[in-house]
């Protein structure tokens, strides 16, 4: 019987020739990822009680992104603790003020096809877009990983999600993943891997593929994998990775728990409505809903491709008077590239405010949280009650294009009318 990508990676990580779904295996971890808010300050006590010796400091990556820049003294204290911890443990890979950890580890070449990556954040699954088995764990579990480099995992079953056909103009990976989550339900993939495949996925850029894997956990999935190919190799080479990159795929006779088929050519822009990510509707159902803020960015949709799309829509236009438009590039690299291309100027001229790359208001931490009764349209990944601030606020999720169009109108808007050439003339 053939193996899925998940089974292949976990077989390798557990030193076995093959494993199958349902089996519990002890695995060796390739990268242990922590961020400031759920990292060293929570881990340190237990870690020290158990000896305080890292299994391999070259495999530990710490990224301060949630408390950056600190909005409170408490956050400043956590940030200092994290920075000191990284220095005291002589960590070669500590990043600060560079952007959300999921984007940072991809850009810095820590994510490679076939690696096993565990991180103290649920969106660690984003690394699956490069063919790594990546999933979120808690801080206590991280103590064990830091000490031993191992943990146990149940080999997950895999749901294969096939998107064939060609996306229409104005429709993006975000719309694909929102539609997928709607169909699966927010717990529809619990304990399982989602494997995204099909011709529409194959055509997506690296920036777009990361959106799919990032949001796999919003259907409850353990990780979201995409078969690594030349797009991944080219991306890693562009980031300076020179080692051999091993490509692999699920076997043709691999066993899936189920297979879903979608036609990308029929997809319209999608919006996730409050307060669950599977409460997804075509944009036409919610057009006209007034918003107070739009949030363009995050590790989900703050990459250069996203900002280009938004700039195309906002160029020469102004955002609605009563709306705040916060732009949060996914990393310093993205910020610099957007700056070079004049995108930050275009967005600022349209009335947007460019914040520094960080987790920011996406999780209700810093810079742009919302008050009671306020409504946000965001390109981020989660719209739970209270997620971006007040529990009496509302968060809608959509693609960067939908977010940009919404900024112009001050109401949820279909981006396609701002992209079609006739309207542009």
């Amino acid at each position: 019987m053939g193996m899925t990508m998940s089974e292949k990676i976990l077989a390798k990580a557990s030193g076995k020739s093959s494993v199958k779904a349902g089996e519990i295996v002890w695995v060796n971890v390739d990268i242990a990822l922590m961020h400031d808010l759920l990292g060293p300050w929570l881990v340190d006590g237990g870690f020290r009680r158990l000896g305080g010796k890292l299994f391999d400091k070259d495999k530990v990556v710490v990224v301060s992104d949630h408390c950056t820049p600190p909005a409170t003294v408490q956050q400043a204290d956590i940030l200092k603790f994290t920075r000191d911890w990284a220095r005291n443990h002589d960590l070669p890979y500590y990043y600060e003020f560079e952007g959300p950890c999921h984007q940072v580890i991809v850009e810095h070449g820590h994510v490679r096809p076939g690696r096993l990556i565990l991180g103290t954040d649920s969106h660690t699954c984003m690394a699956g877009a490069l063919g790594a088995f990546a999933t979120g764990i808690g801080s206590t579990e991280m103590i064990g990983v830091l000490l031993t480099g191992e943990t146990w995992l149940k080999v997950p079953e895999t749901i294969k999600v096939v998107w064939d056909g060609k996306l229409k103009e104005g429709v993006y990976a975000k719309d694909i993943v929102l539609k997928t989550i709607k169909e699966l339900g927010h717990a529809g993939a619990t304990y399982q891997t989602i494997e995204f495949s099909g011709s529409a996925i194959k055509e997506l850029s690296m920036d777009e593929r990361l959106v799919l894997s990032n949001m796999a956990v919003e259907a409850g999935a353990k990780t979201g994998l995409i078969e690594p190919d030349e797009t991944v190799v080219e991306y890693l080479r562009s980031k300076g990775v020179q080692d051999e990159i091993e490509l692999f795929a699920s076997d043709e006779d691999a066993v899936y728990s189920h297979v879903l088929h979608f036609d990308a050519s029929e997809l319209e822009p999608q919006v996730a409505c409050p307060h669950e990510v599977d409460n997804v509707h075509p944009v036409s159902d919610v057009e006209g809903k007034a918003v107070d803020q739009v949030y363009l960015g995050s590790c989900t949709n703050g990459r250069i491709g996203d900002l280009r799309i938004a700039a195309e829509i906002l160029k020469g236009r102004k955002i609605a008077k009563h709306v705040r438009c916060l732009v949060v590039p996914a990393s310093q690299h993205v910020w610099m590239q957007a700056n070079k291309e004049g995108i930050l100027t275009t967005l600022t001229e349209a009335g947007c405010i460019v914040n520094m790359p960080s987790c920011g208001a996406c999780g209700g931490f810093t810079s742009g949280v919302i008050g009671a009764g306020e409504v946000v349209m965001s390109s981020s990944n989660r719209n739970f009650r209270g997620r971006m601030g007040s529990s009496d606020g509302e968060v809608y999720l959509g693609s960067p294009a939908t977010v940009a169009a919404t900024a112009i109108e001050g109401k949820i808007a279909d981006p396609r009318k701002y992209l079609s050439k006739e309207v542009m003339l």
Binding site: L37, T72, T140, E141, L147, W152, A187, R382
Partner: protein, 165 residues
Amino acid sequence: MSFVIRGRVWKYGDNINTDIISPGQYMSYPVEKQAEHAMEAIDAEFAKKVQPGDVIVAGNNFGSGSSRETAQMVLKYHKIGAIVANSFARIFYRNSINVGLPVVEMIDTSVIEEGDEIEINLLEGKIINHTKGEEYEGTKLPEHLIEMVKVGGLEPYLAKKLGIS
């Protein structure tokens, strides 16, 4: 961690996510401050009235969302005895076992009501409703986790494994 837990029920619905249990805006505060805001988005009374040993009973997908263990920390701060739900989000389930917070799945929790007194046997997967005089079938603790639960969670389990007293 004890294998038998008895307590009074706080009843909730589906998708009680980690932003509800542990709101992001308070996560950088000390646990006692975070705990004041536990569940407040859906229940302003919980943090004020919860008693040590009380249990939470909920519907599907309890603990969805973030990997934040602050969710377990605030529930343990309130001395919640156990959580029974139709299903759990996977990271939440794993974290709970790791920190010694008992979690049990039960196919249909709708038969249990707010304020009921229930008793949970983790090893047998049995749930007794003393208020209603009923008994329900829950899931047994997976075998590979029994040892970890017996010693009180992952940290003591690791201490034993690594030979640290």
